[in-house]
Symmetry: C2
Subunit: 482 residues, 2 copies
């Protein structure tokens, strides 16, 4: 595609998110919003988007298109391939805005609306070109979350729906075509049900907002982020299948487990419909395979949440801090752990970078042992790695146990030269990692001398380990003959 143009009408958080999606995927973007603060507001969203959207990918996004702000709608929509309306949720305002867009935009432009509540036929009512109007309802933050509910009405041209799907996919989004229009589409109906039940729980004093959030994020939120509701229930139902699961939980529909009691009748037809759709959705995988996929994703996501300690990531961090530190033999054991499934690659074994991740954890642990710990780092001093050499001697697989010992080859002044041995569960030497670290003043980011206490401990280790001699594989260059 050559450079294409999107026009964003209404520049709040949602309009700004759309602007970022288009712009960072190489489109020119023209913004129309009478709000004098629009430029600042969109600028803030763009700043967030630039910091995060490219981080999803291991390749560069196309260069950004051109961003412009307009005081009149006509110049903003001129030449646009897509016009996205994100004005407040008042039907008469939406009608007025869309009518003006249709007057000024090219005849080929798709007119998308971000409405979360109105049906496309509500928007099309009385408009000159209903066939070009479609609901494209995104989710905040629009620049990161893939979902767009794409809702045509019977009056929307099917070519518009198809083209809109292609465009949204090209922006890295997941267009979900809603085949039958309904107030609030699909996701917001689910959100509304939870919102209403939540308001009851808070109002009745059962829990606080924080407790309710915890009830979501430490439990089913983690399931839903990867699979959703029905596939997760299919797994829970086990080999007996979705029909069995529903038979088991169907009766609860009549219990007062929610304040929201207008419940569908639980007929055989409904059970068959759901079981059949679930088979079509997930029947290509056995329950055991689905369980493992679910678990692999949970491990990977919960490990990801450790980075900031949010939700389950915080629980894991806290628990990990309570786990015993590795015991020390002749050499300090600096890592003792199992290899997570998220560390494997296309060759079916632990990826080369994770050997270094584990060795870096060994260096971190050794730093703690000599007193260069979190407090020391918070005080403005640390060690940075200057050089690493890794030999891969045997494969390690997901689930294998990994133990690392650390030998000090040299430790004095600014320098800390370590030799890590990585052992598999059967005691086989799987890799060695030789690391040279330099002591750093974090304010100047340049080398400096460690505290006397840290240096003393380091030197003590270095002296004790000197008797062990230089290990095989230390001092090697890449490709050197043994």
């Amino acid at each position: 595609m050559s450079a294409r143009k999107a026009c964003i009408v209404g520049g709040g958080v949602i309009g700004g998110g759309w602007a970022a999606r288009f712009l960072m995927n190489g489109w020119d973007v023209a913004v129309f919003d009478p709000d004098p603060e629009a430029k600042r507001k969109i600028g803030e969203v763009l700043e967030n988007a630039r910091r995060s959207l490219p981080g999803l990918y291991d390749r560069a996004l196309p260069g950004e298109g051109e961003l412009s702000f307009h005081n009149d709608l006509a110049s903003a929509v001129a030449g646009a391939d897509w016009v996205q309306e994100s004005v407040p949720e008042r039907l008469e305002l939406k009608h007025k805005t869309i009518s003006r867009i249709l007057d000024a935009a090219p005849e080929t432009a798709i007119i998308g609306s971000s409405t979360s509540g109105f049906k496309p036929s509500d928007l099309q009512d009385g408009m000159a070109h209903p066939d070009r109007i479609i609901v494209a309802h995104p989710f905040n933050p629009v620049y990161l979350l893939p979902l767009v509910e794409l809702v045509p009405s019977p009056a929307t041209a099917s070519a518009i729906t198809e083209l809109a799907q292609d465009v949204l996919t090209s922006l890295g989004m997941k267009p979900l075509v809603v085949r039958q229009e309904i107030d609030a589409h699909i996701a917001d109906r689910l959100l509304e049900a939870v919102w209403r039940e939540s308001l009851w729980l808070i109002k009745d004093g059962i829990c606080t907002t924080e407790e309710l959030d915890d009830a979501i994020r430490f439990g089913f939120g983690l399931r839903w982020a990867q699979m959703g509701l029905f596939e997760i229930y299919r797994v829970a139902g086990g080999e007996a299948g979705m029909k069995h699961f529903m038979a088991q939980f169907g009766p609860a529909l009549e219990w007062e487990w929610t304040k929201l009691m207008d419940v569908p009748e639980f007929t055989d037809d409904l059970v068959d419909l759901i079981a059949g759709q679930s088979d079509a959705q997930s029947g290509h995988m056995s329950i055991r395979e689905l369980e493992r996929l679910r678990d692999d994703n949970l491990v990977a996501m919960m490990r990801a949440l450790k980075h900031n300690g949010s939700g389950a990531g915080g629980t894991i961090r806290d628990h990990e801090a309570r786990l015993a530190e590795p015991q020390t033999d002749e050499l300090p054991v600096t890592v003792s752990r199992q290899i997570p499934q998220s560390w494997t690659d296309y060759n079916g074994h632990m990826n080369e970078a994770h050997y270094l991740e584990a060795a870096a954890q060994a260096s971190d642990r050794f730093m703690e042992m000599i007193g260069a710990d979190a407090d020391y780092i918070a005080g403005g001093q640390s060690y940075f790695t200057a050089e690493n050499h890794i030999r891969y001697l045997s494969e390690l697989m997901a689930g294998d146990q990994l133990t690392i010992t650390t030998q000090v080859l040299r430790g004095e002044g600014k320098k800390m030269h370590l030799f890590h041995r990585l052992f598999g569960g059967d005691g086989t030497l799987a890799a060695t990692a030789e690391s040279l670290l330099l002591h750093i003043d974090l304010a100047t980011r340049s080398t400096s001398l460690p505290s006397k206490e840290v240096e003393d401990r380091l030197v003590t280790y270095a002296k004790a380990h000197a008797a062990l001699g230089t290990p095989e594989g230390a001092g090697r260059y890449v490709g050197q003959r043994p």
Copy 2:
């Protein structure tokens, strides 16, 4: 704590998950379940748990306790510190089971129930020692998800509630104490509301189970996995605050956005209550800080989902495949990308292991360029890295652009010796990574010769690059003087 004992009464998926949690945290576990299949069923859950639970941690879990199966309840509960009841959801069965447990268990044992629906006072009704009975409602898979709803009734001893919290925390779980008992506790009320609305949507033909799951997992599921409902809405509301957000969305409560229409009255008191609780929960962070935390978590989780391509991970994979490959100059450009925020560490810069992750991506890309691509690997041949040497020359930060060029130092027979240069956004040489890869037969996992086509392309690069001479930093050993 010395070795402690848990008794698991009822060994299905939930009982098995409890058994795994206790066992893998060093407790002895005795199982009582009259089902002749109990041993097999628990074995399957344990197998799943052993593969995944340790993967959450960067330290080893304590050694497993002893697992035993019992035909009589008395021997199973003997000496138990915790007895967990997970029998089917029929009140008379729960009463009979708990009564027998109370007869046989030590007087100090906590009696936890996994019930998802009954209040603790329902369970305590007519029991000899109601003070020792507490609901401990976990979430499947119990061995991975941290949440346990811990629900005492007024008759439960407060010492039991406190002790239960300590024990659950020591198992790596997140006990959420539900202060006021209610049918189905908190999380299952939210789940039930969504379930009921979902049944309507399926029954009315609005969407299929798969479309409904997609409406969750590509959108709000990713938000909820980290923050939950109210904190996410607080962020969406922006600097104007939670009160403003509620004023904006409150009126929708009266709209038919769900079939579940018994809605709480939207009074000022309710708004104040929620806004106040939200301030207490999240008021220590600005909206901008919350936005960035949300985005950092989204990037990290969505990157984690790329590993298996589930949900949003699949969308990112597909979009990435459509992004242009890096352009080649004198040397092939094998990586061009932005550095994600999840790649940083406690020193505030890109962690040393991610330099290698990026260099490994450069090796992968170069393999593709010579024809050792996904099809070639699927055909049973690949390259494994035997040795790496990395020099860290300058810091790289989250958000920095990274470009890698690849020079072939030697390429013939089984050997592929590469030299990657990692450049920051301003063109500074930030690191070099020298890699020796060996061609591997994936069936025997030993070295072999590449296909003629792959070797020819490799040799062509090697000859062209020979004219460039040996780069500075190649052939170095760790700590060598420049």
